[in-house]
Amino acid sequence: MDTNWTNIGSVDLYPQDLGSCVLVGDVQVAVFHLADEQRWYAVQNYNPQNERMVLSRGIVGDEKGTPIIICPLHKYRYSLKDGKCFTDEQYSLKVFEVREEAGELLVKAS
């Protein structure tokens, strides 16, 4: 299927250094804004390890310089860059493109 950019609203809705969850079609996407790099990241909200929709509620950080999201339930660490799981390599996340345009946020997830 073709992928399209979806407008998910004003950037003001998305707090810095925290995660937010958006619905794109049927897909739950976790969106993060890292103030340090002035960059947006988006990955699946679904944590494959515990099979729950929780990643947007995790804390963000870095592991040796790579930006990561840490699952709030069992503290598994995933790279925001490529979705690889640092804690157990059998898991990985799908990453989505996200960009800012005229104060609005767009994500490519459908």
Partner: protein, 843 residues
């Protein structure tokens, strides 16, 4: 009734279930893998074996059960027949039977005598008067405690190791205490004259009078003791006496049945611990080996091991043991090992510092190569290392004085524990070698506690724990594991260091902290730690720094396995009005929440979606509830009992105190959660002693206990202060908590913190009661600030649109999260299991 024995196993009967008798059973079970024998043990005392070495802790708050060597159920679980309160009164060697005081006659195949010893009471006229005690069993202590209530002055006869321990106990019971010693110095067996003198001055500075060269001639008094008269006709007025003049092996049974005993007592044994009858062993303090009675546990344990081995076909021998000891006496360390005086040709190095009250002596062979023995008074930190050099006959450094020269310069010369051979025995009580400890660490033991649990090292007298700790740290460092308490890759600080940095430099944000003291972006370890520290110091609502809060704190509720939340309103002391109960019921019903009474005496409402939290809180707050901080590393609950308000036994109003304390400390952030309980009398219905701080009412006021824990590694709290009034109680608790918050590491409960605190409970008392660090003003002020600036975090959140932004599942939609599903169980909801869930993941 007919007893039918289907299979009669050969029977081993152990006479005496003291420390050594118990150890025999334990060692025997380990070795008798085929379970060939039936173990039977007779125990004269009214309870199974307990830790006599730590008997004095019975006075400082430990219960008899705390001191048990093993739970009562352990015996039955291991199929040991244990006869408690049943003394053996006769041994018939011809028919191989023993007879108990209750008339039970049992046949034995092998007999093990572990009857221990009894305190020696010198034949002084008047020693049978009321008020004269010995110090050996829990019963002795109960009797003393009772009598001490009416006594003001106590004398201990005997200035040896046990006498001094008894003197400390007497002083703690509130009596003016004297020690009366026959010899010209204290601890004549372990110390030389100079060491003994120094110890005397330390003890006298603690307000215990020491009388040397005193031979008690008469104990006078009309029925009860009132004074002592000495051979030199001097007198001392006392109303209680504890005799601690040595021990006599309990060999009476052995004598009666014709076993060979020593002239001055003791059952003669050979190196296999066999007596003159090849079917009878003797071990522990009743056994006489080459003219020696060993009055210490470590040799006794070794004897138990040898006897158990032989019975299971493993030949081992007992070759004597050294009498090295290290103990803490009346606030000072005393240790001695090997030769304490130089013989012809040997040499000595002595440090005698009368200002710092430190005395250290090494006895060295004439050629300067071997350490023959030594004495340490006042500072015994070097003991572990010295003992290793001595026992392993290791070469001394060229300037052996460095081994005992005062620490201070960082060029500490000593033997590193890593230099020891693998065969070096680190724990003599449990005979655990360095090699065994190292393999346990290699096999994954990840803390000193772990090491203790899997090797038993350090569980006897405890003297080896410092060396074990060094070994553990050295091994960890070797394998590249940093045991420094560095928080994470972003900060080279431990939590307590971070606390000090924040406090001293007034840092209020994570970005500033990271910029000045850290690197990178942060992670789930340093961010919440910093958030907690900011809250502990500045006490702003935690969502002011949203990005630092993880999981529960991030949403002021407890995240459950399915991503929903539970809500726990505060119910101080567990007291709640019917109206408020109805509100909780109504709210739960309205939002279909699962309802449960928690283990902390309050009510938990489960299954709220993130977007429902603010509305539910609003309803609860309007009805007078506030956050219960079940999500925080902060005060949980102060459990209460109904106390004197209702209960027929209550002596104080425990409920009111619990409510007041819960309100005082609510919301305060700390290194880990902390809990409390207040009981209205000694029956302890609020389980206060399993709490971080627990309070038990007494006739005169309150007893405060600290450092208790339920959970994974339960620990009974230690008695911190007795019979104090409410004001003092609050003062001590404030300081205890603030000192903990200031100095503990991340996720360290008070129990662990206290066990690790150098100087332990005594140090804590000094800091909190005597202000030994001069920080009490700071602690008081900080606590006052926290109490005065408390705010309900829920209330703060629902009134702040900025904070509420994150309380929705989808930022761009009002839809519900379809992956959250419930099923019904016992008329309430519970999360659907992954199998029950009807949902397909779309990515």
């Amino acid at each position: 009734m007919v007893a039918i024995h289907l299979v009669m196993k050969p029977r081993i009967i152990v006479v005496g279930n003291g420390m050594v008798g118990y150890k025999f059973c334990e060692k025997f079970l380990e070795k008798d893998t085929a379970s060939k024998y039936q173990l039977v043990t007779f125990c004269e005392e009214p309870r199974p074996a307990y830790d006599r070495v730590h008997l004095s802790e019975y006075f400082s708050g430990k219960s008899a059960e705390d001191l048990y060597m093993n739970k009562l159920s352990w015996y039955s679980e291991n199929d040991i027949e244990l006869y408690i309160g049943e003394k053996v009164v006769e041994i018939d060697r011809e028919h191989k039977t023993v007879t108990s005081c209750k008339g039970k006659v049992l046949e034995y195949d092998k007999l093990v005598m572990a009857t221990g010893s009894a305190p020696f009471v010198p034949p002084v006229p008047g020693a049978d008067k009321a008020g004269v005690f010995v110090y050996r069993t829990i019963e002795d202590l109960d009797l003393m405690k009772d009598y001490a209530k009416q006594a003001k002055t106590c004398a201990v006869i005997g200035g040896g190791l046990l006498g001094l321990e008894a003197a400390k106990a007497a002083q703690d019971l509130g009596m003016k205490t004297h020690v009366v010693e026959f010899a010209p110095r204290l601890m004549p067996r372990q110390l030389d004259t100079a060491g003994g003198l120094l110890l005397k001055s330390v003890i006298e500075s603690r307000d215990i009078s020491v009388h040397l060269n005193k031979n008690t001639k008469d104990i006078a008094g009309d029925g009860a003791v009132s004074k002592m008269v000495f051979a030199d006709d001097s007198e001392l007025d006392v109303d209680m006496i504890i005799i601690s003049a040595g021990i006599r092996p309990r060999d009476e049974l052995a004598k009666e049945c014709g076993l060979e005993v020593g002239e001055r007592g003791g059952i003669k044994v050979d190196k296999y611990m066999l007596t003159s009858d090849p079917n009878i062993f003797a071990i522990g303090e009743c056994a006489l080996y080459e003219g020696m009675i060993y009055g210490l546990v470590a040799p006794g344990y070794k004897m138990a091991d040898v006897a158990a081995g032989l019975l299971c076909g493993v030949e081992e021998t007992f070759e004597g043991a050294d009498m090295s000891t290290k103990l803490k006496l009346i606030g000072t360390d005393v240790a001695s090992f090997g030769e304490i005086e130089a013989k012809e040709g040997d040499r000595e190095i002595v440090i005698n510092d009368d200002f710092k009250k430190i005395y250290k002596k090494l006895v060295i062979s004439a050629d300067g190569k071997l350490l023959l023995g030594g004495i340490l008074v006042g500072d015994a930190d070097a003991y572990g290392g010295l003992l290793q050099i001595y026992q392993n006959k290791m070469a001394l450094p060229p300037e052996p004085i460095q081994l005992i020269s005062p620490a201070g310069d960082d060029s500490q010369v000593g033997t590193s524990v890593m230099d020891l051979p693998d065969s070096a025995q680190i724990c003599s009580c449990e005979a655990v070698t360095k090699g065994t400890l190292c393999s346990a660490i290699d096999d994954g033991a990840s803390s000193v506690g772990d090491l203790k649990a899997c090797t038993k090292a350090g569980t006897g007298c405890g003297g080896c724990v410092p060396l074990m700790t060094d070994l553990f740290k050295a091994k960890m460092a070797e394998s590249g594991v940093v045991v420094s308490s560095r928080l994470c890759e972003h900060f080279d600080l431990s939590r307590s260091e971070m606390y000090d940095v924040v406090k001293v430099s007034g840092i209020k944000t994570f970005d500033e902290l990271l910029e000045k003291h850290g690197k990178g972006v942060g992670c789930e370890i340093c961010k919440p730690t910093a958030g907690s520290i900011f809250a502990s110091i500045w006490n702003k609502p935690i969502l002011e720094q949203k990005k630092l809060q993880d999981t529960n704190d991030a949403f002021l509720a407890n995240m459950q396995q399915d991503g929903t939340y539970s809500i726990v309103p505060r119910i101080p002391g567990g007291e709640i009005t019917p109206d408020k109960l109805i509100v909780l019921g109504e709210v739960a019903k309205k939002y279909s929440l699962y309802t449960k009474i928690t283990g902390g005496q309050r009510i938990d409402l489960f299954g709220a979606r993130v977007d429902q939290l603010p509305v539910i809180w609003k309803e609860l707050i309007d009805a007078g509830f506030e956050s219960g901080h079940a999500y925080g590393k902060s005060l949980r609950t102060v459990k209460s009992c109904v106390g004197s308000a209702w209960c027929r036994f209550g002596v104080q109003d425990s409920t009111t105190l619990a409510i007041d304390l819960e309100k005082r400390y609510r919301g305060i952030r700390s290194p880990h959660k902390f809990k409390s309980g207040v009981s209205g009398c000694a029956r302890e219905c609020a389980e206060a002693r399993s709490k971080d701080f627990g309070i038990i009412a007494t006739e005169k006021g309150w007893n405060l206990y600290v450092g208790g824990n339920g959970g994974m590694t339960p620990r009974h709290a230690d008695l911190f202060a007795s019979d104090i009034d409410r004001e003092t109680l609050i003062k001590y608790t404030d300081r205890f908590l603030m000192y903990y918050i200031k100095t503990a590491e991340r996720l360290e409960r008070t129990s662990v913190w206290l066990t690790k605190l150098e100087g332990g409970l005594d140090k804590l008392k000094a800091v909190v009661i005597e202000d030994s660090l001069g920080i009490c003003d700071e602690l008081d002020e900080q606590m006052k600030h926290l109490v005065d600036t408390y705010e309900c975090e829920w209330k703060d959140a629902i009134n702040d649109p900025e904070k509420l932004k994150r309380f929705r599942h989808f930022t761009n939609s009002d839809e519900k999260d379809k992956s959250v599903q419930f099923v019904q169980e016992r008329d309430q909801i519970r999360p659907a299991t992954l199998q029950e869930r009807n949902f397909s993941i779309n990515l």
